[in-house]
Amino acid sequence: MNLDLELDAERAGILAIAGPNGAGKTTLLRALAGLLAIDRGRVELDGEVLDDTTSGIHLEPEVRPVAVVFQDYLLFPHLSALENVAYGLRSRGASRSAARQEAGTWLERVGVAGMAAERPRGLSGGQAQRVALARALATRPALLLLDEPLAAIDVSARAALRRDLRTHLTGADGVRIVVTHDPLDAMAMADRLVVMESGRIIQQGTLQEVTARPRSRWVAQLVGLNLYRGTASGNLITLPEGHQIRVTGETQGSAFAVVHPRAVSLHRQRPEGSPRNVWPGQVDGIDFEGDRVRVEVGGPVGVVAEVTPQAATELRLAEGGRVWVTIKATEFEVYPT
């Protein structure tokens, strides 16, 4: 895994580092925590140098003012919830009673005071997550890192916990960075968003800035758009495999083209008509979402279309079936990379 990036994070607001699995987000998080040595570069927090390869500085995790909420929480199985939360305080020199008292306060703050004496195996997913958060917050870190904080949570419980997490994070001091692959997490918690792909930062900015011009599959998925990348020459964009999309505008060179699924039309037979973009495909998947139907069409140029349930029935759409896709050139938004 090769990481190559420059990152700035403020105390104000929550920063979300998002992207597909394998993008290098967890690697970055581990490097910031000091669990991973970097080959070249510099990490600075509040003016304190944590890493600097040119002067050979590498601060071990135990002396960094950094706390981590791990994906699997990693609550010590042989300690109670209270003792887990007190662990960081004890490590930093607090007496047993003082640490336990403060730990109790933190458990109350995250809403699991009643489980103080429980061992981790007796906690539900949501409770464990909160104990892990309390354990990290108790050390009052200058940098708080969360690695996929909701990944291990039941889908049904996720929405409520997401809101809770946002509340707790908003109330905390210091730089807060949440690493996630889930667009919903990013949308709910990010004040600023950094999108990573293959070890590099593809886009960054506020949610609005990033989603206005998607530059990665991940962001396109977040906003529900079809994203293509190719070489533009005015009205034509040539995709990597040689296929071409007809668009409007005068963009030249490397460019992105996005089109909303609603603007994609499906037909049973090759249609005639004005749309400049016509190609065949097969139905890879159909998702019924209330009053809309999302259809994944595979083929030389993959695309996601959105049709009404009636249309889906009329077209007799079924997985594996053949369809024709048409998109008007005017529906594409094109911008340089």
Partner: protein, 260 residues
């Protein structure tokens, strides 16, 4: 679905059980139950039992102090020749104990590799001293502790140590408060095996430490001598070791059957 074993297989299995059970049953039947108390209280026997207890615990202590750090390095540190070191440390498990005793004799004896320099030093385990008993027992028993401890350390999720580090715990604190508690079951099993093995050692102790009552005559060697002079007493003392072994086995239970 209840499975009916083929007859031949069942017969062989029954013979296997008999091979192990019959001698032990015979021992129990031969035990002079009324004389048990006086025999075990007699000075020679008591001396051997006490020495065995002291030396086996001493051997366990040596094994823990030296073996646990070794297990830690084998499990966590990658270095050239690691598999060689592991094989070497496991060797006493398969080496004939008497061979181990001979080797110790020629290393720690007055003209031995180590002995020639340190023979005069007080506490040095010269041949035919009590220290030699502890050394011989540790020699054969330590591998059990090292192997079990290493397995436990490998199996343990090291990410807990990472979590402890991010919470401000340095290497020592991580080891005492996270690693040790998490491998404690493996360590306990290893220590039990180690101690039981040390207690029962015969070949290495009699070769390297001899059979001097009060000084190097442990319970196994005492039993051996008793067999000539008073077989019934030998059976009585054997019962003690048999009971201890059973107790150790019961103590290990699932642990042992699973971990090995």
């Amino acid at each position: 679905m209840k499975r009916r074993p083929p007859t031949a297989v069942a017969i062989m299995a029954a013979l296997a059980v008999a091979m192990v059970a019959l001698p032990l049953v015979g021992l129990l039947l031969r035990t002079p139950w009324p004389d048990l108390g006086p025999v075990l209280a007699s000075p020679d026997v008591r001396q051997a039992l006490v020495l065995s207890a002291e030396c086996s615990v001493g051997a366990l202590g040596v094994s823990v102090v030296l073996g646990v750090p070794l297990a830690w390095i084998l499990a966590r540190v990658s270095f050239p020749g690691r598999s060689l070191v592991r094989a070497l440390v496991t060797l006493p498990m398969v080496l004939p104990p008497v061979v181990g005793g001979v080797a110790l004799l020629f290393a720690f004896g007055r003209r031995g590799l180590v002995g020639q320099y340190l023979a005069g030093v007080p506490g040095f385990p010269s041949p035919f001293t009590t220290g030699a008993v502890v050394l011989a027992e540790a020699f054969v028993a330590m591998p059990f502790l090292v192997i079990t401890a290493e397995a436990g350390l490998r199996q343990m999720d090291q990410r807990f140590e990472e979590a402890a580090a991010t919470l401000g715990a340095g290497p020592w604190r991580r080891f005492w408060t996270v690693t040790l508690p998490l491998v404690a079951p493996s360590l306990a099993a290893g220590a039990t095996l180690c101690w039981a093995r040390a207690l029962g050692e015969f070949g290495a102790t009699i070769t390297f430490a001899g059979n001097l009552p009060g000084r190097t005559q442990t319970t196994p060697t005492a039993i051996y001598v008793l067999l000539e002079s008073n077989p019934e007493h030998a059976v009585a003392v054997s019962l003690v070791l048999l009971t201890v072994s059973l107790a150790a086995l019961i103590g290990l239970r699932q642990r042992w059957l699973g971990a090995l």
